[in-house]
């Protein structure tokens, strides 16, 4: 069972993603509400996969992605974005994000992205 760290500043969004993941037999090992928490929790948990929101307080998702990637080049990170964040998504992919999903989330989209990333590995 793959372990996942869910990062989003809205508890509501975390719950949505977590539910989708749990229903599909993923093990959500942690939830972070901002980029700094995400970096810290990644160190601690070393999850197989991270879903990372882009717009977050304290430290945004892209900075967090870069920090995680700089220490763990093999990290699997999927960005969660909203419409209109094209350039940030591109930044994120350049920085090494494996894929992205767009809000509003649809369960099958989310799973498609996740399975592809975990499967590729």
């Amino acid at each position: 069972m793959s372990s996942v760290l869910v990062v989003d500043d809205a508890a509501f969004m975390r719950m949505m993603i977590k539910d989708i993941l749990v229903k599909n037999q993923f093990n959500v090992v942690g939830e972070a509400a901002n980029g700094q928490e995400a970096v810290d929790m990644y160190e601690e948990l070393k999850p197989d996969l991270v879903t990372m929101d882009i717009t977050m307080p304290e430290k945004d998702g892209i900075t967090a992605l870069k920090e995680i990637k700089s220490k763990h080049g093999d990290a699997n990170i999927i960005m969660c974005s909203a419409m209109g964040q094209q350039s940030m998504v591109i930044d994120a992919i350049q920085a090494g994000a494996k894929d992205f999903i767009v809000k509003p989330f649809q369960a099958d989209r989310v799973m498609e992205a996740i399975q592809k990333v975990v499967g590729v590995k």
Binding site: D9, N34, T63, M88, I90, V102, P104, F105, E112
Partner: protein, 667 residues
């Protein structure tokens, strides 16, 4: 997916974000254009949009999306913040608020947002509007499966073939619902560029990045990679529904000599606004919190109260047994439970900010409506009060504030004539004072017209003419809170809608609060509200009547006294006493609660003088036991509406004492 389970969380978070938007917008208005604030607002709007779309509240998502566009332009200095712009944004926030409230009260959250949305749209700087229009007007032509190559490209293809490379043409189809197509294209190119060198793409790179294509695009590259490998890799990208790869050979296509300009260099001008958008580094420190259902907090409080009762018993037992080790242990436990009590009580505390923070908005819109210039100054917003009280004081405070704005502060012209600054100030102040929290609302307006108050009070029969002389100024101002009183010459829709300030007073009093008012003509008025810190632990005077013990809240006691039988007089068939020169009714606890045993034959009586909003009465009891902190328990659903009893408490010895509801004893 069934979203019902997320609804509460959704509503809670949405309201928080809306509040944040409101607060920050007001800040923005004050210190024009601070980037941090705009970023904060943008972030809230953005999160709100994402959540609303996920929950399927389309109108909500739609409007936040438009708002976000405007905010984005403000953030990128394409749009300056003017009051007119803010008015429109505020208006949309009102719509959002309406929708969220509708959702929270079980509605569908639907609203016609077209008006607000188009107003927002109109704000957008012209170039942006034109840009989006042109982007949507470009009708991407269906591109043939095999693209046309120019001479130069053919030359490259041929040359590479000679060096053992081959040219591959990829037809990629994206899912129709792909939302960030350019980003997907970027991912495809990421794979393709790793494999080889791109010599041609159709539509042109610039169009791909501007999303000016439907769902298909074609890339030609020079590579050594096997077609199957490349196909698999690209098919592995999310939202790519179809990939065709075929080898390009000179013979397979007819050569056409057409000039085609291919923009190879990456177009830096793409999606201009968001490129610059450095993510906001929030300066404010985020407090780490855990969300707890308030029911659980209430339950915790209840359990703790049980513990307090048991503690009382243990203390009593250990005092009787005089076993030193037991005494030590019990004392230690008492100390710990004392600390625990503080923690639990503070856990239920919320800063008054939760109530206050909706006022700036209100003052802003009301002052515009009234044509007055008013500034609201909030002091001590971090003062904390029990949640139950916070929930209740919002409406009465709104009422008081409206009253101050409408009747207190004068119009700029009047103020100027009176030699005051044109802008009036209303100060809302909250602070701790002993076991109470004081909330004061002070304005520098016209003050209360004493003569007018007296006239109205007389004409409405609220006081008798002969009493006027005896009243102090404060007493007269207090008449504002009497029922059926309204000083406004005409009823405006801001305050004075028939419901007078008496409703305000009643609400505060039901919370154990005291309202008072003072004023200085020409200088302004001040309304003070004293509220208890918490409702569940109460300071009471225990009294005895017959075999029973009763608790009278200290907050309603004026004083205690002993009177002799000959101090009691009869007037209009009722017993009265002379209390400090005032004739007040004398009630007997025995009679009120039909307690067995009579007290009539005594020569001396203990009395408790109680007060309800200025009216006082004496309550005759057998003994005064003493002051004590008690835990208030409701009587439960089986005993609703018991006259004159507001609850019960369990005393240290295990007996139950009923708490007297003083308000109902005084007519």
């Amino acid at each position: 997916m069934d979203n019902k389970e997320y609804l509460t969380l959704f509503i809670e978070e949405s309201q928080e974000h809306l509040q944040a938007v409101n607060t920050h917008l007001l800040e923005l208005e004050k210190n024009n254009g601070s980037k941090d604030i705009i970023s904060e607002i943008f972030r809230s709007a953005h999160t709100l949009k994402g959540m609303a779309a996920t929950m399927g509240f389309e109108d909500l998502a739609h409007l936040t999306h438009h708002m976000e566009n405007v905010l984005d332009q403000i953030r990128n200095d394409q749009l300056t913040v003017t009051p007119a712009v803010l008015d429109v944004v505020f208006e949309s926030v009102d719509d959002l608020e309406y929708m969220i409230n509708d959702i929270s009260s079980g509605g569908s959250g639907k609203k016609d947002v077209q008006g607000a949305a188009s107003k927002l749209e109109a704000l957008l700087a012209g170039d942006k509007a034109a840009e989006t229009a042109s982007a949507s007007n470009v009708s991407p032509e269906k591109h043939s499966v095999i693209p046309e190559y120019d001479q130069y490209e053919w030359a490259v293809i041929q040359e590479s073939e000679e060096q053992g490379y081959h040219a591959l043409c990829l037809n990629v189809t994206l899912d129709e619902q792909t939302m960030l197509k350019a980003a997907r294209v970027f991912m495809v190119f990421g794979v393709v560029e790793k494999a080889g060198e791109v010599i041609n793409c159709q539509p042109a790179m610039a169009d791909l990045e501007a999303e000016a294509f439907e769902n298909e695009f074609t890339v030609t590259l020079i590579t050594k990679e096997e077609p199957e490998n490349l196909q698999a890799q690209i098919a592995g990208i999310s939202e790519v529904t179809d990939v065709h790869v075929h080898v390009v050979k000179k013979e397979t296509v007819q050569t056409k000599h057409e000039e085609q300009s291919i923009t190879e260099e990456k177009n830096q001008e793409l999606s201009p606004p968001s490129n610059k958008a450095e993510m906001p580094q929030r300066q404010t420190e985020a407090v780490k919190t855990v969300r707890v259902n308030t029911d659980r907090l209430d339950k915790l409080m209840n359990l703790f109260e049980e513990l307090v009762i048991d503690r009382g018993r243990l203390e009593q037992l250990s005092a009787e047994l005089k076993h030193s080790e037991l005494t030590d242990t019990v004392e230690h436990m008492s100390r710990i439970s004392g600390d625990l009590q503080t923690i639990i009580l503070t856990m239920r505390m919320m800063p008054v900010e939760n109530v206050f923070n909706r006022f700036p908005r209100m003052v802003r819109s009301l002052s515009k409506e009234l044509g007055k210039k008013i500034e609201l100054d909030i002091v001590g917003a971090d003062t904390e009060l029990d949640r139950t009280i916070i929930d209740e004081i919002g409406d009465p405070l709104v009422h008081l504030l409206r009253n101050s704005l409408d009747h207190g502060i004068e119009t700029p012209e009047v103020r100027k004539q009176a030699g005051k600054p044109e802008t009036g100030t209303v100060t809302l102040r909250a602070y701790h004072s002993g076991n109470h929290v004081m909330i004061e609302m002070e304005d520098d307006g016209a003050g209360i017209n004493k003569e007018k108050v007296i006239d109205i009070a007389l004409s409405k029969g609220i006081i008798a003419a002969e009493d006027v002389e005896k009243k102090t100024d404060q007493d007269i101002y207090g008449l504002l809170f009497a029922s059926g009183f309204s000083t406004a010459a005409e009823v405006t829709d801001i305050s004075g809608r028939g419901v007078g300030l008496d409703v305000v007073r009643n609400t505060f009093e039901s919370l154990g609060g005291i309202v008072s008012v003072d004023s200085e003509p020409g200088k302004g008025s001040i309304f003070s509200i004293q509220l208890p810190l918490t409702l569940s632990i109460l300071d009471v005077m225990l009294v005895e009547a017959g075999e029973e013990k009763y608790a009278v809240p200290i907050s309603s006691i004026v004083e205690t006294a002993i009177i002799t039988k000959d101090n009691i007089f009869h007037s209009h068939g009722q017993r009265v006493i002379d209390f400090r020169g005032r004739i007040i009714p004398l009630l007997s606890l025995h009679q009120v609660f039909a307690i067995p045993g009579s007290q009539e034959e005594r020569s001396q009586h203990s009395i408790v003088v109680i007060n309800k909003g200025g009216k006082i009465a004496a309550l005759m009891v057998d003994h005064l036991v003493g002051k004590q902190d008690i835990v208030l328990k409701s009587l439960g659903p089986f005993l609703p509406d018991i006259a004159s009893i507001s609850g019960a408490t369990i005393l240290g010895d295990g007996n139950v004492a009923l708490i007297v509801d003083v308000n109902t004893l005084i007519a």
